[in-house]
């Protein structure tokens, strides 16, 4: 196989800072494990808007379609708050997800032993937590038509459309069941079938996929409001959670916060296999662009580093190398190395973004 290609889109805010550290890690794998990547870099979000007047240039979109994997930092920032909806930084990210057809968004919510004290939840409730949320990412209310703000009589009305076809639900469900088989073999699917017809169809299709092709996986269904409660009450009851785009947005952020360390959490967004067998894929940290700490050397690069680990696992079939990288991160944490966001009350002084990157490379 030719050298695998990687498109890096640092984006806005702390995106560029954390990406510098990820490149150190990528370089380490090249120098020490013979894993070379053909790395290119481009703009997305506000950075692309500043350069081109659009949050994602067509050329960048075309490049993203061609590479083996995209690694994204973060998009958005107060500077762009007043932009028109159609050119907001987020539209760049949403266009990538939609046009690459990245229907399965994998969001692990994992509580690292060394950081369990960090959660706002009691230690015994979250220690050892290891949930995988599979969020449908290319449909639902994020993309449904009609949408917009319309005149109606004497006033305006804001409209969005929640919409799911059977095949959209089917493929997201398969992604969840496949993952469950490699983990705890349990899927909990969440919707509001008691209120929304789209939720009824969702439940029905998930059940059908299960019964026909994954009867060995334990499947349960839960209303999304109860899901939010159960995540707060007893998150360890879950293994894989399968849900739609909008519920997934909220529930995965809720789950992420249970771990107490958002700066730690990666994500993978996967589509259908390309000609070379690799899935279309975009990897990004769950945290946002964090404008309040941008440029201060305070950002935690771990979420982005672990996003690259997910790329090794899901795009490049290098599960062992991914585990190596994850263990290096755990070792650094166990050694007490902490960026500012991970500081408790015990008087450790924080390391900078680049010191954390160096520590990970050293641990590798």
């Amino acid at each position: 196989m030719s050298t695998p290609s990687l498109l890096i889109l640092p984006g806005d805010g702390i995106g560029p800072e954390v990406m510098i550290e990820v490149r150190k890690v990528i370089d380490w794998f090249g120098a020490n494990r013979g894993m070379n990547f053909d790395v290119s870099e481009d703009l997305v979000g506000g950075a692309a808007y500043d350069a081109h007047g659009t949050p994602l240039h067509d050329d960048t979109m075309a490049k993203a379609q061609e590479v083996d994997a995209v690694l994204l930092g973060a998009v958005g920032g107060p500077k762009y708050d007043d932009l028109d909806f159609s050119v907001k930084p987020e539209r760049g990210l949403l266009r990538l997800r939609k046009e690459m057809d990245l229907f399965a968004n994998l969001r692990p919510a994992q509580c690292f032993d060394a950081l369990a004290d960090f959660s706002s939840l009691k230690k015994d409730v979250v220690a050892g937590l290891d949930i995988m949320i599979v969020r449908e990412l290319t449909s639902g209310v994020y993309f449904g038509e009609p949408r917009g703000i319309f005149e109606e009589g004497n006033e305006r009305v804001g409209i969005n459309t929640q919409r799911y076809t059977e095949s959209e639900i089917d493929r997201a469900a398969r992604a969840a069941f496949e993952l469950a088989r490699k983990r705890g073999n349990k899927v909990c699917s969440m919707e509001k079938a008691n209120v929304m017809e789209s939720g009824i169809l969702w439940r029905e299709v998930v059940q059908k996929v299960h019964d026909e092709d994954y009867p060995d996986v334990e499947l349960s269904h839960m209303y999304a409001d109860n899901g939010a409660m159960q995540l707060v009450r007893a998150p360890k009851q879950f293994d894989v959670i399968l849900t739609d785009n909008l519920f997934g947005d909220i529930l995965s952020d809720c789950a992420a916060m249970l771990t107490g360390s958002l700066g730690m959490l990666p994500s993978a967004s996967l589509g259908a296999p390309m000609a070379n067998g690799r899935p279309k894929a975009l990897y990004e940290p769950v945290h946002g662009s964090a404008p309040d700490i941008t440029g201060q050397g305070k950002a935690n690069p771990i979420a982005c580093v672990l996003s690259f680990a997910m790329a090794l696992r899901y795009s490049f079939d290098q599960g062992d190398e991914a585990t190596r990288l994850e263990q290096a991160v755990e070792k650094v944490l166990a050694d007490g190395v902490r960026t500012a966001d991970l500081l408790g009350e015990d008087g450790v002084s924080p390391v900078s973004t680049s010191e954390m990157g160096d520590a990970i490379v050293t641990a590798l």
Copy 2:
């Protein structure tokens, strides 16, 4: 004024059990505070379906429109899971909300001192928590058209419509600002304006209502996914949270679970003032029908009792009597009286539903 009227709809599951205790409390106010109510009782949810083949009979709907306040227990249960969507127990509740036009759903998430240990969150994160969520209740994706499951090419598609008019947002916002003025004077409005046009209109109208008529109230806006995170991370940053029907469903359940004691939480759903000046109103506990403990004398009646306290405050202008009732509940808890759901590990033995009701009456 003539005797105020109260329609009691016990509903399903533990609804009838907890309502018996509320009636003891209502009787106490009649006997000891000269506050008499013209109480009638009727069916809703599965109970109404069993009797009439519909989760809300037209006669019951008409009665609900006439009374000064409705007090509802809970609806739903596994027995009704396979019913057609149109006659599910939930449809009875949704019809009441919609036809009474109860646009402002007030959901306090309060952490009782005596129960702070009970939360899955650390005590210092939740002790003293006192949030009021104002959830728009008669519009959004719960009621928007088109909706349903349709054929499209070779497959089916599930569709629901998120839809908000300016006036719907306006009146919900006013309810939130009015409440904030009587509390901490802060409103945080939550939507997904970065992704949904309905969220853009929501944010714009809330800001306008604020600037024109409530400039004294502190207003902030937050994306709903971040809202879920912030609720888990540091819930005490909030005073009043204003949000739409679907986000409100999820975020209020998340907030409720922070308190650790769902069996404690009441809610009020308010509409426009009637001819007598009282708002259309329905009061109900936040907990569901709890089929797993139905009929065992284990249910906690406090959420329903506190819903009646909200009725005293918001429908009958008896804030002092509401406070009296709330303090009686606090006293009972401080005395260590606990239903099974409130038991920690300290070996107290639980009281029954009716013993809890009696204890509250004694404390009054």
